[in-house]
Amino acid sequence: MEYLLDGFADGLMRVLRADPQVMLAAWVTIKVGFWATILASLIGLPVGFLLAMGRFRGRGFAITLLQTSLGLPTVVIGLLAYGFLSRRGPLGFADLLFTPSAIVVGLVILAVPLVAVFSMTSVASVDERVRETALTLGASNGLVAWTVLREARFGMMAAVLAAFGRVSSEVGIAMMLGGNIEGYTRTLTTAIALESMKGEFGFGIALGVVLLGIIFVTNLLSRYIQRS
């Protein structure tokens, strides 16, 4: 028990002192999380919107595929992306493996289905009268789509924030594609895994507190947006 309490005390002291190693890992986490969320949103939001609004052949299959990929294990994503990005892989020429960009690639694969499914749900739940009201007020097809999108905007923002929360707390992809290089690709989660294996429990706690703080703020924002 003493060992646990000492660990917590050490962890909190490191957070209060703004330990440079903890802050560096936090910075890498936020940086890769930010870019992965932006890129995943650029792909996932239009996909979710099209699946909610469109009526085309293969739509049902596409939705099932996306929903299935929500449960894809992160190590599997890491493994596949590793295969593509390694020197022998088809994208080996880009020399991305063990760089923050490689982590971003893996996290984008993880976050796209999440953003797409959440945004699809949010667009699909927009009142049916929105489309009809826009039509009868003389809106063009483009404006009708934009109006529906505008009505669903809070749900879509919540989808983006949920994706950020998910990619920030991911460990398998960051470990496999980033290589856990200190100050470069070491994120909060990979640092926690490493430090706890080294027996540095306090350090692990400090990293965990910062990670929880990031996710807590993200969720607060998401709740605020949804309540708006």
Partner: protein, 214 residues
């Protein structure tokens, strides 16, 4: 001048024939009152006239031209506006809602706001202009939706049960507004299941039962 001309218009909901109008003519500047019990086909008829529902059979002409239904019928939807029984107000304030129609027609924000303000005055909504649309009462919502339909600049307004769920005061106010709109030359087709409410209006009565004009 003939505005609407309908002949042998049929609409089926799944297997049920819910609309079967042999003939209906609406003249320019006329106020047509569609009456009938709940489920008599008033809403379906208005939605067909608005171009939102495609009839399975029959001819519908607007100013001697066939009505184009659905998304392709933009031209028709800009001439004829439907105010639904339970109107939906978009997120945002009243001005944003009322200026939607003019903005949809490509007007600048200042022009759209000017048109919206005119419609707001006509529908006695001037005290609500910057209010959040989600926080309005039922009567206020109906008036704002009417202002929005009016600001859209349509030649013909189709009003579906404009006084449903409204108290006496708001119902009288809506009747007054309709009277003023009719006087300004706008063609109106108004549905109601309480015909007494419209006794102060000079109207052509059309009664529907089981989807047919009786």
């Amino acid at each position: 001048m003939e505005v609407f001309f309908l002949e042998n218009v049929k609409f089926r909901f799944e297997t049920d024939l819910v609309l079967d109008v042999e003939s209906l003519t609406v003249l320019s500047g006329e106020v047509v009152l569609l009456t009938g019990a709940n489920g008599s086909g008033k809403t379906t008829l208005l939605r067909v006239m608005a171009g939102l529902l495609t009839p399975e059979d029959g001819a519908i002409q607007y100013k001697s031209e066939p009505v184009i239904f659905g998304k392709a019928g933009l031209e028709h939807r800009r001439r004829v506006t439907l105010l639904a029984q339970e109107p939906y107000l978009f997120r945002g304030n009243v001005l944003l809602n009322v200026s939607y129609g003019p903005r949809a027609r490509g007007m600048s924000n200042s022009q759209a706001n000017e048109m919206a303000q005119e419609a707001i005055l006509k529908t006695r909504c001037e005290g609500l202009i910057y209010r959040d649309a989600a926080k309005l009462s039922g009567g206020e919502k109906k008036r704002v939706a009417l202002a929005r339909a009016l600001a859209a600049g349509a030649e013909t307004l189709l009003l579906d049960e404009p006084i449903s769920h409204l108290d006496e005061e708001n119902s009288k106010l809506i009747a007054e507004i309709i009277k003023e709109l009719a006087a300004s030359g706008i063609t109106l087709v108004v549905s109601t299941h309480i015909p007494e409410w419209a006794s102060s209006l000079s109207v052509k009565n059309v009664r529907l039962a089981y989807g047919r004009i009786v």
